[in-house]
Amino acid sequence: MNVLFSMFTYLIQVMLPFMGILIIGCCFKSLFSNLSFRHPLIALINKTTGEKIPIVYWENSIGRDKHCDIVVNSPTASRDHAVLYRRDEGWFISDTNSKGGVYLNGTPISEDEKVYIDDIIQIGGINYELRKSDVFYDESEKNSLKNSYNKFYAGGSLLILVSFFQAFCTVQMCFSGPSFNYEPLKIFGLLLGISWASFFVSKYIIRRSNFELETLGIFLSSIGIINSAGVDVKLTYTQIICLGIGIIFFEIILAFIKDPDISMKFRPYIAVIALILLAINLVFGKVKNGSQNWVMLGPFSFQPSEIVKVAFVFFGSSTIKGIQTTKNLTLFILFSVACMGALFLMNDFGTACIFFVTFILIAFMRSGSIRTVVLTCAAAVIGAGFILKFKPHIVTRFSAWRHVWEHINDAGGYQQTRVLAYSASGGLLGLGIGKGALKHVFAAPSDLVFGMLCEEWGVIMGILIVLTIAILGIYARSASIRSRSAFYSIASCCGAGMLVFQMMLNVFGVVDILPLTGVTLPFISLGGSSLISVWGILAFIKASDERTYAIKR
C-alpha cells in the first residue's frame, strides 16, 4: 500500500506543473482573445475637407500637436487643445486651457459639455461634426458588427480547473507525512469557499462579464497559501483571511475608481492618507528583520508601505484631461520623494527600489519624456553614491553578490546558497509539497519562496509562476491601450510594472542574479499586507480592461 501511495502522490506532484500550464494558458488565451482589433466608436467629420476621422479611444486628445489622437491642422489651434471623451452617460468635450477656445454648436464652452450625434465642434476655426461610426461601413457590414463585442466568457470552467488543482495539492499534502493528515482538508475547504464565493458575487451580484484575472489571482494566491501550509498549517489561516480581505479590497477599488473623473478629485486625499500611514509607520513602527516597516495593531501586525504602493500608483495615474491641464509632475515628484525618503529611513531599500522604478514608469507614461527618465536615473545614481558614502555598511550587505558560495555560513550568502542548493535538489519536477528542507531556513515562505517553489513544486512550477506575473505585465499593456480612460491605462501598466519588478527583485535576489533585498514575491509570499496590496494592484489591471465596467444587458 505504501508503495502505491508514494507512486500515486508522485504522479499527482508531476502532474501539478502541467495542470498549472493548462490553467495559466487558458486564462491568458481568454484574456488576450478579447483584445482583438476594435471598430471605431464614433466618427468626426471635418466639415471643411470632408475627411472622416474614426474615434477609437474612450479618451482622445485634440490639438495641433502631431501626437494628438485628433490632429487639427490649424495655426490657431493649441498644441493640446481639447479632450473628447466618453463616459457611461455619453460623450463629452473639454477645453484644456486652449487659447482659441472650443465652440459647441457655435457657443464657446467653459466647462465639460456633453455632445450628441450631429453636434458641431469648432476647434481652431475648423468645424467637426460628430457622427455615428456607421459612416465607415456599408449597409451589409452593419449587421455583422452588432454582436462582435462583449462576447461573454463563462469564467466558471476555469475556476473548476483551479479547484481541481487545489484538490490535488491537498491530496498530496494529506499523504505527505507518515500518517494521513486532515489539516490540509480544512485549508482546501476555505480556499474553495473563498474562490467560489468571489466568483458568484462577481458574476451574479456585481454582474461582471469575465473572471479570468480573478481566477489567475486566486490560482497564484492559493499556491502561496498551500506552499506555506507545507511549512506550518497554522501560518495559513491568517493568509487565507488576508486573501479574502484582498479580494474585497480588489472589488472596493474597482468600485472606487469606476468614474475616473471622481478618482482624479480624490487623488490628493489618497496621497495625504498614504503620507500619514508612512508617518505613523516612522513614529510607531517596529523593527523586524532589519527594517522598521511594521506597525502593530493589537494582535495584528501589518506593513503600511505595502498599502502605500497601491496609493502610489493611484496618485500617479491620470486621465488625458488631467495630463493636458497639469503639465508638470511637481506634486507627484514631491510625493515620491517623501515616500522613498520614508522607506530609506525605515531601512527598507527593496521597497524603495520598487517605488523608484514605478516612479520612472509613471513619469514616463505621463510625460513621455525620455529626458525626465534619464535625469531621474542620473539623480538616483548620484543619490545612491551619497548614501553609500555616508552609510558604508550598506555596501557590506551586497558584498556577497555573485560570490555567495564564498559566504555559505555568513549573512551574505547563507540564504542564496540554500535556495540554489535546494532548487537543484528539487529538480524540474520537485520533491513534493512539504517535503523540502529549505522551509527550515529563516524567511523561507516569504523572501525565499521562489526557492521553496523550485524545491517542493519543481523548477517548472517556479518558472511558470514568475512567467505568469511577467505575462500579466504584457497583458496589462495590451488591455490598457483600449481602456475606458488613460487613468486606467497608466494605473494598469505601472501597477503591473511594479509587480513584475518586485517579482524580479525577489526571484533574482534569491538566486544571486541581483543583490538580495528581501522583498516579497507577489501573490506567493507569506505576508498578509503584501497579498492585500497585490490584489489592490490587480484591481488596476482589471479596470483597464474595457469590459470590466460594461453594463450587462
Binding site: T417, S423, S425, L428, L431, A437, G497
Partner: protein, 465 residues
C-alpha cells in the same frame, strides 16, 4: 490615448529584463544544478531523508552508506581519513571523488527529477571499488604526517588497489572553511594522486634512458664519463658524486646526473620533446573518464644546460603520481599499460550487480625492447642499490627520485616501481612532499605498501572476488 499607447511600451522593457534574467537563471541551473545540489549546505545529503547507495571497497567493507536517512561513513577513523579523497565528503569540495562523480547513480539525482523520485523506483545504485581500504589506511600512516600521495595497481587488470592522498581529514569532523585554507590543511580537498603534478627528480631518468634506448644505437654498450661537475655553455650541471667511467645500467642504478643530462643534450630539444610526448607527457591525462592533471615536459626556451637538467627531472619537468603509475605498468607489461581504474562495478540492492566498470583498455607507451631494457635496469638498480631486503625479499624493480624544490625546503621524495614477479602483478608510485631523499621518505611508504599488498595477494584475499 495614442501617446499613452506608445508610452506603455516601457513595460516591455521591464518584461525583457525579466526574460533575460530568467534565461540566465535557467542557463546557470542547467550548468550548475549538480554542483548546487551536492554543495555542503544541502541538508538532504548531510542529514536529510535522501537514501544513497553504498560505497564498498574490494573486500566489501562499507565505506559510505545511508542509515535512517543519514549518510554515515566507515566506523574506523583511519579508514575514513585514508579513503576521503576517493569516497568524497558528500559535498562538491572534492569533485574527483566517487560521491561527486557518481552522485546521479548513488543518490538517484538528476536535474530533471532532483532527489524527488519515490524510493520504489530503486534508482540508487551501490558502487564497489577496486581499492583495499585497510591497506590504504596503513599506507596513510606510513607517511608519518607528511604530505604526498601513494598509488598501487594491478598492472595486468588495471585495478587500483591503493590510492592515498595526504593531507586528509576525518569526514565526521570536517575542517571549517577557515581551517582548510591554513597551512595544516593546504590543498586538503585535492586528491594528489591524480590531481597534482610534482617535479620528478631522478625518476625522470627512466624517460631519458628510454629516449636514449630508442634513438641512440648501442647506448647500452657505450661508456660515459662523470666528473661530478660539467660546465655547458658556462652553466653548471652537477652530480652527487664523481662516478668516473660508467655505463648506462650503472648510471641508472647510481643515479648519475651527468650521464642522463649528456643523453638529453645529445638528443637535442626537438628529439627529446618528441619522444617525451610519445611517452604521454604534455598529453591530457584521464582517470575513470575524467580529465586530471597531466604531466609536462617543456624545453622550448631551455638553454643547453637546462636541457641537460630536464633529462634528470629538474628544470620545468612535472609528473603526476598517476602518470608514473601508468609508466611503471607499461615497463612491467612489455611497454603496454592497462588503464588504471578504481570503480569496479555498480549494482542495485534488488537486481544485483549489473554494470561492470572494468574497461581494461590498454595503450602502448614504450617499444617492447625498450621496456625490457628499462625493466632490467630497474631490477639491477633494486638489487644493487636498494637491496631486495627493503621489500622483505619480494623481487621488485624500482627507481627513486629526489626533486629539488628550492626555497630552503626539503626536496620531494619519489619512489616508483613494480613487481618483477608476474604472480604478484603490482606497480606503484609514491611521492612525499618535502620529504627528503626519495629512498628515505618515499622508500618506507612504498615498502610498507608493497609488503601489505604482497601479503594480501599471497593469502588469496583478492582471488575470491
Amino acid at each position: 490615448m495614442k501617446n499613452t499607447r506608445f508610452r506603455s511600451i516601457i513595460i516591455y522593457i521591464v518584461v525583457c529584463f525579466f526574460f533575460a534574467g530568467i534565461g540566465f537563471f535557467l542557463f546557470e541551473f542547467i550548468a550548475n544544478s549538480r554542483q548546487w545540489a551536492f554543495s555542503p549546505v544541502n541538508r538532504h545529503l548531510s542529514e536529510g531523508n535522501m537514501s544513497g547507495g553504498k560505497i564498498l571497497d574490494t573486500n566489501n567493507i562499507i565505506l559510505a552508506q545511508t542509515v535512517d536517512g543519514k549518510r554515515v561513513y566507515n566506523e574506523k577513523e583511519d579508514i575514513r581519513r585514508a579513503m576521503l579523497h576517493i569516497v568524497g565528503d558528500g559535498s562538491v569540495l572534492i569533485p574527483t571523488s566517487v560521491q561527486s562523480r557518481y552522485n546521479s547513480e548513488l543518490f538517484g539525482y538528476n536535474p530533471v527529477i532532483g532527489f524527488g523520485a519515490p524510493h520504489v523506483f530503486d534508482i540508487n545504485q551501490n558502487i564497489k571499488l577496486t581499492l583495499d581500504s585497510e591497506i590504504c589506511a596503513k599506507v596513510s600512516k606510513s607517511f608519518k604526517n607528511k604530505k604526498g600521495a601513494a598509488l598501487a595497481y594491478n598492472y595486468l587488470t588495471g585495478e587500483v588497489l591503493c590510492m592515498v592522498s595526504l593531507p586528509t581529514y576525518d569526514i565526521n569532523n570536517r575542517p571549517t572553511f577557515e581551517e582548510s585554507s591554513n597551512d595544516k590543511y593546504e590543498g586538503v580537498y585535492i586528491n594528489r594522486a591524480i590531481s597534482s603534478s610534482f617535479t620528478p627528480g631522478s625518476i625522470f631518468k627512466i624517460f631519458t634512458a628510454a629516449a636514449g634506448l630508442d634513438l641512440i644505437p648501442d647506448v647500452e654498450k657505450r661508456t660515459f664519463e662523470c666528473k661530478k661537475v660539467k660546465i655547458i655553455d658556462g652553466e653548471k650541471v652537477t652530480c652527487m658524486s664523481n662516478h668516473g667511467k660508467i655505463n648506462l645500467k650503472d648510471a641508472m642504478s647510481k643515479s648519475c646526473d651527468i650521464v642522463f643530462s649528456d643523453i638529453a643534450i645529445e638528443l637535442g630539444r626537438e628529439k627529446m620533446k618528441a619522444k617525451m610526448e610519445e611517452y604521454g607527457l604534455n598529453k591530457p591525462e584521464y582517470f575513470d573518464g575524467m580529465q586530471v592533471t597531466s604531466s609536462s615536459y617543456d624545453v622550448m626556451n631551455a638553454s643547453k644546460a637546462d636541457l641537460g637538467w630536464s633529462g634528470i627531472g629538474q628544470s620545468k619537468d612535472k609528473v603526476s603520481p598517476l602518470y608514473m603509475l601508468k609508466v611503471m605498468g607499461a615497463i612491467a607489461n612489455k611497454g603496454i599499460y592497462i588503464e588504471p581504474f578504481a570503480v569496479k562495478s555498480l549494482f542495485t540492492d534488488s537486481s544485483g550487480e549489473y554494470s561492470n566498470n572494468s574497461k581494461n583498455s590498454s595503450k602502448r607507451m614504450f617499444s617492447e625492447s625498450t621496456a625490457e631494457s628499462l625493466k632490467e635496469m630497474m631490477r639491477y638498480t633494486m638489487k644493487n642499490q636498494y637491496k631486495d631486503s627493503m621489500f622483505g625479499g619480494i623481487q621488485m624493480c624500482a627507481k627513486t627520485g629526489t626533486a629539488e624544490v628550492g626555497e630552503d625546503k626539503l626536496p620531494h621524495g619519489w619512489m616508483v616501481g613494480f613487481s618483477y614477479d608476474k604472480t604478484f602483478p603490482v606497480a606503484f608510485s609514491v611521492v612525499v612532499e618535502n620529504g627528503d631523499f626519495g629512498i628515505k621518505s618515499a622508500g618506507p611508504v612504498a615498502a610498507d605498501m608493497i609488503k601489505e599488498l604482497h601479503g594480501a595477494f599471497k593469502s588469496g584475499k583478492y582471488e575470491k572476488k
